[in-house]
């Protein structure tokens, strides 16, 4: 059996006396969509912030494997930006965080910063019009164009990100995360505020990312129609503890999950 892409072991996060996450262990696989669900305040976003380096865990280990190279990263020991740059974990935010005054295309180019930075000789060569940098920038624009086409944002590419409608901003944030070429994509409530049609498009986009780009997706979501349709694996948190872990069908039938989160069976259906 393959080593999992991400192994979270005994993750505990305390803020002073408050235990936000208590001894949570789970795994996320390559080419699988893993959903983390739970009621408000269950600690889902805290787990995310820990994975992406915004918080340091009090106890616990988060091990990330690059299947292609066999390199292993211990995320709890890495600085936030290094987790994105080296371990290649990308994320989106619950309250969208774009670069509002920059254009849609610029948002996607900024996401490829580190590669472009090396290509421009850390700016020094680039300032004098070095050919290699021009080629790298053209390649970056091509990659951006690919994701613009995928997310249907090509017609708005030269508009300021803040001028996009809400759904467009959500998609742009996913496109921006994908432009960093991650091995693990963490999405914090990507379907929040989307209408049913946009929600369906999102499902298709996430499936495409999983199947074509063969990366792992970790998903926090409240919208059960999204979770149940696209997840391969579900982790349920409640009051900072993991109460269930399994395939969607099993989770739907789990009495503890129903009690804590899904409610009575007829509502959950």
């Amino acid at each position: 059996m393959n080593r999992p892409l991400l192994e979270v072991e005994h993750l505990t996060i305390r803020f002073g006396g408050l235990v936000a996450v208590n001894d949570v262990s789970f795994t996320a696989q390559d080419r699988r969509i893993t959903a983390v669900i739970g009621p408000n305040g269950a600690g889902k976003t805290t787990v995310f912030n820990c994975l992406t380096g915004f918080y340091k865990p009090t106890i616990g280990r988060m091990r990330l494997m690059h299947a292609a190279t066999g390199r292993e990263f211990l995320l709890e020991r890495m600085e936030g930006f290094r987790i994105a740059a080296e371990a290649r974990v990308a994320r989106t935010f619950q309250n969208i965080r774009l670069f509002p005054k920059m254009t849609v295309l610029e948002n996607l180019i900024v996401a490829q910063h580190n590669r472009l930075m090396r290509a421009s000789g850390y700016t020094v060569l680039g300032l004098f019009g070095y050919q290699g940098y021009r080629r790298a920038e053209a390649a970056a624009i091509d990659r951006a164009r690919y994701w613009l086409d995928r997310t249907g944002l090509t017609p708005r590419a030269d508009d300021a990100a803040e001028s996009l409608p809400y759904g467009g901003q959500r998609r742009l944030e996913i496109a921006r995360a994908m432009c960093t070429e991650p091995v693990l994509l963490c999405l914090d409530e990507p379907a929040a505020g989307l209408n049913p049609r946009e929600s369906d498009e999102l499902n298709a986009l996430l499936r495409y990312i999983r199947d074509e780009h063969r990366i792992g997706v970790l998903l926090i979501e409240h919208d059960m129609s999204v979770v149940m349709q696209i997840s391969d694996h579900i982790v349920v948190l409640d009051y900072g503890r993991k109460i269930a872990d399994g395939a969607p069908a099993a989770i739907r039938a789990d009495p503890a999950v129903i009690r804590a989160y899904l409610g009575e069976p007829e509502e959950a259906a």
């Binding site: 992406t52 994105a84 774009l98 670069f99 295309l105 421009s120 030269d158 960093t180």
Partner: protein, 506 residues
């Protein structure tokens, strides 16, 4: 008559205009009306009653004109403003043209202000009101801030469009300036001063406009550059030339920027502003008190002027050097010695340095580092999630800005020939920041306009002595009212898909 004329409410009108006149009265009594003068043996209170009365009357009439314009009486304002400007023009012009006693007396009778420039301001106000009434299709209306920002953005976009031509045109104008005004040392001094501030503005624009780091202590790097050069050039046994010291001054200022930046750049927004303000003062206080090294408050004198490939600009060149005018006379065609040559040379140096900063800022914006600066200004957390190292990125912005400040400082030292801590007080930082803010964050052309306005205007108002800073303040208030986002607030994308598509390979 215009169709949309509203009936006048005379009482309300008188009240509004009266209130304006009252505010002017309160300000004018304190600022203009009373002055303590030092007469032998005592202080005497000197009053200027006519000035205050005139100011109030002008404010009252002006306000009524504004009200009339607002209520749709365009013709009346146009005729009234026109007549007023014609009378003022007839009254004031002879003073400028002939300067005779009678002309000055007439002008004084018409407007009892001491300085002609104030009279001309009143004339300009009357003319502007008349012109607005004449061309204004719409009523004067009160726009909200958002509408103004949007309008300013459109205007900025138009300016960006013509900036392609305006930029080089201004560049040529700057290159040609000494040819026209080269003989006028006073004018060249002002030009050098404005150019120095343009350079400082462009340098600070990288830190504040692009990277969004509010730096209130920029003058510290200016001081480091100036003292680096001053000390290297005057210390016995070193005495390096300007051209050797220039890069060192920049490098050292940049290094100080990075060193200061390390602990400071974790802070954001207002906190960063306060700490940089503190650092600016610390540098000045250190310079002031470390007398054994920096000569303290006495300053450093006798800083050498730059040479042109070893040619000196003095009439009698020091030993081992040739004077420029002698060399020029011997090798090309005869010229007389003139002190103006040196000023022209200094102007070209600062122009060259400023253009380097401009080139760097424009290029860097389209580099990954420039985009990262802008992204960092927009959202630091998002930057971190994309793998951008926020500390390094901020430090490069801070270091680059500091380096250019250091270059400008070295130039300042050599052009003045003298540096002292008094040149590096907080108000300098504030003026440079004001240039960046008023120009419109990140706008290169805006910095030029704002520098011309903020540095040039007080020079024009020099004859009103103590009140020239008032003109500075008025300009600030006016811009904040009409252009809250800066003179040229518009962000041009660094890359476009439309144009990129044509060039990219399939």
């Amino acid at each position: 008559m215009t169709p949309d004329v509203r009936p006048l409410d005379y009482a309300a009108m008188a009240k509004e205009a009266g209130l304006t006149a009252f505010v002017v009265l309160m300000l004018a009594v304190v600022l203009v009306g009373l002055e303590l003068r030092d007469v032998p043996g005592a202080l005497a209170l000197y009053t200027r009653v006519p000035d205050v009365v005139a100011a109030c009357v002008i404010a009252f009439i002006g306000r009524i004109a504004v009200i009339l314009l607002r209520e749709g009486y365009r013709d009346a304002v146009m005729i009234g403003g026109g007549i007023a400007s014609v009378i003022l023009l007839i009254g004031l012009l002879p003073e400028v043209l002939f300067g005779t006693q009678t002309a000055v007396k007439i002008a004084n009778r018409l407007m009892p202000f001491e300085a002609p420039v104030v009279r001309w301001c009143v004339f300009a106000a009357a003319l502007i009101l008349a012109a607005r009434a004449a061309i204004g299709r719409r009523r004067l209306r009160v726009q909200d801030v958002n509408a103004r920002v949007a309008a300013a953005d459109r205007a900025g976009a138009r300016m960006q469009h013509i900036a392609r031509y305006a930029g080089p045109a201004l560049g040529f104008a700057a290159v040609a300036l000494p040819i026209v005004y080269g003989h006028d040392q006073q004018a060249m001094s002002v030009a050098i001063l404005v150019m120095t501030y343009i350079m400082l503005g462009w340098g600070l624009n990288i830190v504040v406009g692009l990277a969004g780091l509010l730096d209130l202590g920029y003058v510290a790097f200016y001081a480091v550059g100036a003292y680096t050069f001053a000390l290297l050039a005057t210390t016995e046994g070193i005495e390096w030339s300007f051209w050797l010291c220039l890069p060192m001054a920049g490098a050292l200022a940049g290094l100080v920027g990075v060193l200061l930046g390390f602990p400071v750049l974790r802070l954001r927004g207002d906190y960063l502003a306060i700490v940089t303000l503190g650092f600016g003062e610390i540098i000045r206080v250190v310079i002031q008190n470390w007398a054994s090294f920096t000569k303290g408050p006495n300053g450093i004198t006798g800083i050498p002027r730059p040479t042109l490939f070893g040619l000196s600009w003095e009439e009698e060149a020091p030993e081992g050097q040739t004077a420029f005018w002698q060399w020029f006379s011997n090798n090309l065609w005869p010229v007389e010695y003139s002190a103006a040559h040196e000023k022209i040379f200094l102007f070209y140096i600062i122009l060259f340095l400023a253009l380097i900063v401009n080139w760097f800022a424009l290029r860097a914006r389209k580099m990954p580092i420039g985009r990262a600066w802008e992204a960092l200004r927009e959202d630091e957390i998002a930057c971190r999630s994309l793998g951008i190292n926020p500390t390094n990125t901020k430090l490069t912005a801070f270091g680059c800005g500091a380096m250019f400040g250091g270059f400008a400082g070295a130039f300042f030292a050599t052009s003045q020939g003298f540096v002292s801590p008094e040149s590096f007080v907080f108000i300098e930082s504030a003026i440079i920041l004001a240039i960046v803010v008023l120009g419109g964050f990140g706008s290169q052309l805006g910095v030029v306009l704002a520098a011309l306005l903020l540095i040039g205007l007080p020079e024009v108002f020099r004859e009103v002595k103590d009140f020239r800073m008032l003109a500075f303040g008025l300009a600030m208030v006016a811009i904040m009212l009409w252009r809250p986002a800066g003179l040229l607030a518009h962000r041009e994308p660094t890359v476009r898909l439309k144009t990129a598509r044509a060039g990219a390979k399939p």
